[in-house]
Symmetry: C2
Subunit: 392 residues, 2 copies
């Protein structure tokens, strides 16, 4: 293998993206269903805010599609993660295991609880948290005392683990559940990127005690801004609704709140958009998988770079397609990014790893060799569903 | 004066609300402008999320209308308050003066900063924080040391004061600014209810260093859910934009964040709604003031109850109209509320005072005689702008 020739990479991309003029974004929303109809219904009836039938309907659709017993719609994925951590009982001063390779929201949500992220390494095959490495590391670093996992170095309780399904690719959730059970960690799935992705036969987000979805503008379906909490636990679902509506006790008129709550419920107008989008989700995923297959084929002969494909246990939504540069040529990454962007093909590296950011530099972490290696080598490329087969 | 006769109260309400059938809500949104045009434009262009021209336009319209130099649109009023407190430099362990008579968001936003609300009494004439009482109380309780206000009892820094313009009625902001200057408190205006309300000739929300607006579904204009931060300070405005967009540093592709930030920006589709609503704000306020004038006249002859009118220094939006029961008959409040609601006229008491809620019971507070008196006597009545002159 040699260095990836930017011209060869662009040529491969152009075979997949024929006829596209102008800039090609990483991920754009697509409104070809009943979006107008439902949003107009909101405006016509005056029900645009948090009470409204589209919120209920969106939650039912989400539960049906994912197989989760409950879905609670919230303002965005970050809020969903924050609520998940509160539901998991994360307390100030505790630690929460999260991958170093993730979007900032995972770490920030831990901070909002007054807790500390504890960074874990990634697996090459999934881009997600590596359960085997976590098991070894916790064996060395932590111990279970009285049913609670304690970090022997910091003395803090390690309350939970938040695996994230990177770019939509399901991580090894069953292996992680086994490790978490052994170390008494609550599992919260960060499924912000993996709506439409399945681990074996089950949708991502139904393995953890609670999990978080996102419907930001760049996600597989969008509500403008939005997110959801999934859970199979009736009591947690009820508590999630309470926490996200300012913890107000039901009463015909009085305003009594029994704890510090949040104003996190999704407005009805955003849910209306979401209802229409969810109706199209299977088709969006089909097209995104078609696009991924085309990329895979196009890059099969390109030197120095490979197209990242779903792990064997998974059926991925291919939310954000990724190229992996050969290790030997990772120093060409920025040059390649420059060339692609200059040609109007939006491309970017993965997020800066969390432990490099100033506010998270001093957080506890395991050796992050794989995450650091992936950070140098990953490039995301255009992934909108309408790019499949050049159709728009 | 005697007890308010529920029949007389209902008769007075009916003279103002002729011909309305079915339940009359406290406050409903009204979409009679370009809402659909702008929202459809969002859907047609695919720009529904946080980057989009309607967010920029909404902020310009807000700044122009209020006279603030900068407006930063966020997901809701609670988020706006949270950001304001961060901008004011509120640190964990500090105290923030807020009225006991307010909506829960004011207190919760203080909690989100790890700070403690310190409850202040209200003024009868404005329903807002009483600057004279605050001055006397701080004189007894606090002292300025090295340019910082310190609570002598708790030893904590009192960093800021958050006056709230209750039901849209401007509180005595100039007097408060004087007290705050003397005690070195940063002033943050909670203007969530007072868009369209003026203190003397200036819009509420431009007196504090920063202030918070809300566009919840029940507000004078709505974006479904939404809020904004107002400030005249260029550096704070820039920082507000940074904090509300995950504190990400500008870069052509890399994701580097320099502190714990928030996912608080308003989606474009909600801003589109807001642009259309703001175009109608002067007309909405005109109609709401017309409705208030009609109530005032209708209640002038009703025993045991008076209609709350704007203080002399103010031109209020009359966001939420209020009746005040005579003190002698405040024990009839719930009976009156029952009767009104049974008749399909939505009515409710003011929020339970903050210091009665379990999570805020042990917070520091001054004597709250006026707030406690008002709590027993206030009743909110229907206030939608289309109710004016019975037009819908």
């Amino acid at each position: 293998m040699g260095a990836p020739n930017p011209d060869a990479v662009i040529a491969a991309l152009r075979t997949v993206l024929p006829g596209k003029q102008g800039n090609i974004a990483l991920h754009e929303p697509w409104f070809i269903g009943k979006e107008w109809e439902y949003v107009k219904d909101c405006l016509d009836t005056g029900w645009v805010s948090s009470n409204g039938k589209y919120v209920d309907r969106f939650e039912v659709q989400l539960a049906e599609y994912t197989g989760a017993r409950h879905a609670i719609a919230v303002v965005n994925g970050t809020a969903a993660l924050h609520v998940c951590l509160k539901l998991a009982g994360v307390q100030p001063g505790e630690e929460v295991v999260i991958p170093a390779l993730t979007f900032i929201a995972t770490a920030n949500a831990v901070s909002y609880c007054g807790a500390t992220p504890h960074f874990a390494d990634s697996a090459n095959a999934t881009l997600g948290l590596d359960p085997a490495k976590l098991s070894d590391y916790l064996g060395d670093t932590a111990e279970v005392r009285g049913g609670t996992c304690v970090n022997r170095k910091t003395g803090a309780t390690i309350r939970a683990a938040v695996p994230m399904h990177t770019f939509g690719h399901p991580m090894e959730i069953e292996n992680l559940l086994e490790v978490a059970a052994r170390f008494k960690l609550v599992v919260i799935e960060d499924a912000a990127e993996s709506l439409g992705s399945f681990y074996k036969d089950s949708h991502t987000g139904i393995f953890g005690r609670v999990s978080a979805l996102s419907f930001n503008g760049n996600k597989v379906v969008t509500t403008g801004g939005g997110g959801a909490v999934l859970t199979n636990d009736d009591a947690l679902a009820k508590y999630a609704r309470h926490l996200t509506t300012t913890a107000r006790l039901p009463h015909k008129w009085s305003f009594v709140h029994d704890e510090v709550g949040y104003n996190y419920r999704l407005p009805n107008i955003n849910a209306a958009l979401g209802c229409a989008q969810l109706e199209q989700l299977p088709e969006f995923v089909r097209r995104k998988r078609e696009l991924a297959a085309a990329y895979r084929s196009a890059f099969s002969g390109v030197r120095g770079v490979r197209f990242f494909t779903e792990p064997p246990h998974a059926r991925s939504n291919y939310w954000l397609n990724a190229l992996v540069l050969d290790a030997a040529v990772s120093d060409r990454r920025d040059q390649l990014l420059d060339t692609l962007n200059a040609q109007g093909i939006m491309a970017r590296p993965v997020w800066t790893l969390m432990h490099r950011l100033p506010m998270y530099q001093s957080c506890p972490r395991m050796p992050l060799d794989t995450a650091e290696d992936l950070e140098r080598r990953l490039i995301n490329i255009p992934s909108s569903p309408f790019l499949a087969a050049g159709k728009q």
